[in-house]
Amino acid sequence: MDMNTNWSLSSLLALCLLCVPSSSHASCDTVVIRSKHERRVERYQHAWSNLIPHYSKVQYAGGMGLVSLGIGWDYGRNQQWETDMMLGLIPRYSSDNAKLTFTLRECFTPWRFPLSASVHAYPFSCGIYMNTVFNNEFWTTEPDRYPSGYYGFSTRVRTHLFVGQRIKFLIPDRKRVFSNSITCYYELSTCDFYLISAVTNHLRPRDYLRLSFGLKLAVF
């Protein structure tokens, strides 16, 4: 009896000891098998969802086309960083054909001042963008017919530096259609060509500075 009790007690204990981890193991197994996949799917979806553009932009002028349309992402603690990708159109003007351009832009907007509950001012932003033209007349490196380093620059890729200001209007909930805010901005920019000309000459600012303005329509 004693033995029996002992046995049953110890077997119960053993069972409990076995059961607890085994039951937890069993539940864990089912959960892990399910959740591992789920978590992977979740992680996968989350990773790709980061790539959903946060906003779209439309810009007038600025060396990336007469009108450019783009998408982008803002990030950082206060959304002070922005990365844009834009497609722009250069009309034909006096050249042989109209041209499509692509721009990659990085912008830093350190300060925000709320003017009211729904209007925020951003007194300073700055950044850099690189533009490339989709057209055979332009080259990244000189074609083979030239000795190497004959011109020593790319006619296709331009690098621009800019400073600007912006103002953001938050759209009230009931008036939202697709965007939750609209930001108006303007930028004063210069490109590598103009910068090197300005440094080596006495030029008027209008000869090496370029204006552009645009709208940023934030989705979320």
């Binding site: 009309p91 003007y93 050249s95 533009n131 332009f138 011109y151 331009r158 060509f193 209008r206």
Partner: protein, 271 residues
């Protein structure tokens, strides 16, 4: 209310910016949107013909390679303007360094301060990107000729490497047209070009053919060119026709040619 005021001031600011800096809105450095004066060579050609009609002695200044040297170009222009004896000015090409639209506009605007009529040739740098189209819009065709007194000036596009056989450069068809249509009143010819024969940029397979064509022009005096950025005088074909190179504008020099019925002389002017 505050929002309305803000919106209003933003609109006002944008309108002001638009009005203030129209030419500061640019689609692209190579957009080829030409603002300001165009068709300069043709207008200058008729002014030169008018102003030198009946003159026996012709004096012209030859500058070249002013690319990205705006300050020096301005100084050259004021130095030429200071003189009273120059009938017209020829620019030997390379007004721009990158072929960018605004470079050509800026150079044009500086050169428009010249009191004398002036023409500009096409340089190899002017061909980059959309530069050639812009140059053509501002100045005219890359091969052209004009007369001053009884002298014919033939200005040729010799930037052969830029075209890679896509267009005839130098254009012998154009030369034939000039040779066959020269009026009888013409006594002498001066040929201006950007790149001289035997340069890397020239189509040297036809260098001697080119010279043979030039010899068919009435009373060929000399050939003038730029591109090499230094003053040089060479009898390239050993046929007595001198090829005279004007320094780039950064070297603070230009050439002044004096043409008389008996011949010509040239002088390197430092400024």
């Amino acid at each position: 209310m505050r929002l309305k005021q803000l919106k209003f001031s933003i609109c006002l600011l944008l309108v002001c910016l638009l009005l203030q800096g129209c030419d500061m809105f640019e689609a692209h450095p190579y957009d080829a949107q030409v603002r300001g004066e165009t068709g300069i060579n043709a207008r200058s050609a008729s002014r030169i013909a008018q102003q030198t009609e009946g003159k026996d002695t012709i004096r012209f200044a030859f500058i070249s390679d002013t690319q990205r040297w705006y300050d020096e170009t301005k100084k050259a222009v004021s130095d030429i303007n200071r003189r009273q004896d120059i009938d017209f000015v020829i620019h030997g090409g390379d007004l721009s360094d990158f072929g960018a639209t605004h470079e050509l506009e800026m150079q044009r605007d500086i050169l428009l301060r010249l009191r004398q009529p002036w023409v500009a040739l096409l340089g190899n740098h002017d061909c980059l990107g959309t530069g050639e189209s812009v140059h053509q819009r501002i100045f005219g065709p890359s091969n052209f000729y004009f007369t001053a007194g009884r002298v014919l000036f033939v200005c040729l596009n010799t930037n052969c490497m830029e075209y890679d056989y896509s267009e005839p450069v130098p254009d012998f068809g154009f030369l034939e047209h000039v040779i066959t249509s020269v009026p009888d009143s013409i006594m002498h010819t001066v040929v201006a070009m950007h790149v001289p024969p035997f340069d890397l940029e020239f189509n040297n397979n036809v260098a001697r053919v080119f010279q043979a064509y030039l010899h068919q022009l009435p009373g060929l005096l000399c050939c003038i060119y730029g591109h090499g950025h230094r003053y040089a005088v060479d009898d390239l074909f050993n046929d007595g026709i001198l090829y005279i190179q004007t320094p780039c504008i950064d070297k603070r020099g230009y050439l002044v040619f004096t043409l008389t019925p008996d011949g010509y002389e040239h002088q390197l002017v430092a400024f």
